[in-house]
Symmetry: C2
Subunit: 222 residues, 2 copies
């Protein structure tokens, strides 16, 4: 069986969980407490990060973009990036937008401060960082609204890896209750559509010990 080493609140792992299910590929999830730096895990990925995917009898694959491209090349029946080279470039630009820009401006300021710091023993959240994260998220929600009004989904007509990357980050922030949905009804419309996809259901069942999500987190009609 294919194995995905992951953490429930890692947006990069969530993006791949969505991609694997959209491609109808079975996999087993294994939680990897990366902060323990297990030698057996470092042998799979010297960067010490999740996600890592191991195909049955295959070499371990690391880095969420490298894994997503591998899945797209190996299992092309359900395409997640688009048809033409230009369409794929647009999907990848938006994946990078969320995995880098949203990550630096929002995810690190909110999720890292409130969750990861605790596991790494790095002390209390920095309130200035949390304020920054809450300021930056609005611009990203506006961008999602603009894209999803011009197009059916963020990168074009199809539900693509761009939507998965965006939803992966936002769903982690939503687990913290920090997405101002009511102030962003157009972005919310897009997220309602994402949330109702069967591939998204397992993410709504995630539960981190000692840190329950807010009641609306798993609610499809929030």
């Amino acid at each position: 069986m294919r194995i995905l080493y992951h953490l429930p609140l890692s947006p990069f792992c969530r993006k791949l969980r969505l991609a694997l299910r959209e491609k109808s590929l079975d996999f087993e999830l294994r939680v990897e407490r990366v902060w323990e730096r297990r030698p057996e895990f470092l042998a799979l990925n010297p960067a010490g990060q999740v996600p890592v995917l191991v195909e049955e009898g295959g070499r371990p694959l690391a880095d969420s973009s490298a894994i997503a491209e591998y899945l797209e090349e190996t299992y092309p029946d359900r395409r997640l990036l688009g048809r033409s080279a230009v369409e794929r470039a647009e999907t990848r630009r938006l994946v990078a937008w969320f995995d880098q820009k949203f990550h630096a401006e929002v995810t690190l300021n909110l999720l890292f401060e409130k969750v990861n710091k605790r596991f790494y023993g790095l002390g209390n959240p920095d309130s200035a960082a949390i304020r920054m994260g809450k300021q930056f998220i609005s611009g990203h929600l506006d961008y999602i609204a603009d894209l999803s009004e011009r197009r059916r989904w963020l990168a074009g007509d199809e539900f693509s890896l761009a939507d998965m990357a965006a939803a992966a980050h936002l769903s982690c922030i939503d687990y913290l209750g920090d997405v101002p949905w009511d102030a962003h009804p157009r972005a919310k419309d897009w997220y309602v559509r994402v949330k109702s996809r069967p591939s998204f259901r397992p993410l709504l069942g995630d539960h981190v010990a000692g840190m329950p999500p807010p009641p609306h987190y798993a609610d499809l009609d929030f």
Copy 2:
């Protein structure tokens, strides 16, 4: 003519300058002072970052990985990622290693502190960050040494995008004179080989006003 909007000391732009030349694709370089946030440039890339590639009569393409993948798909004669899906996953893993891990641990601590902060008007370099960057670089040079002894190039038998990403970052740090080559002779052997490639020559001619490189920077026999 194909246009690449760039900055001379951006490792992400340098990676693409190498890729374009390795693929024998002509292009015109345009320096974009991203900190000025020109509206015409923001229309090409709302993220406001270089590199941006515009093919003759084509849509603007943004994000260095999205552009590299586009080039690989559109001009496949000289492959930069590898042949099989697993080989390509390994190349992409290493590109991410340098574009993310090396970038966060070394490039941001040295290049951003010493160069970008000045352009952005963000004050003086933080000496603690510079110390961190100088500490972290050694582990990366060891990793390059290990990989280039097990393989001909970093990702395998061919000079690939992994070598280009690594050399792009290191060449920017070398412009500052901050690569401890003498303590890392095996990594230096690899860099000597990279430096002697025709695709690398234009990078050695880069010159940032008021900030000359050290004498060894452009020296092939340093």
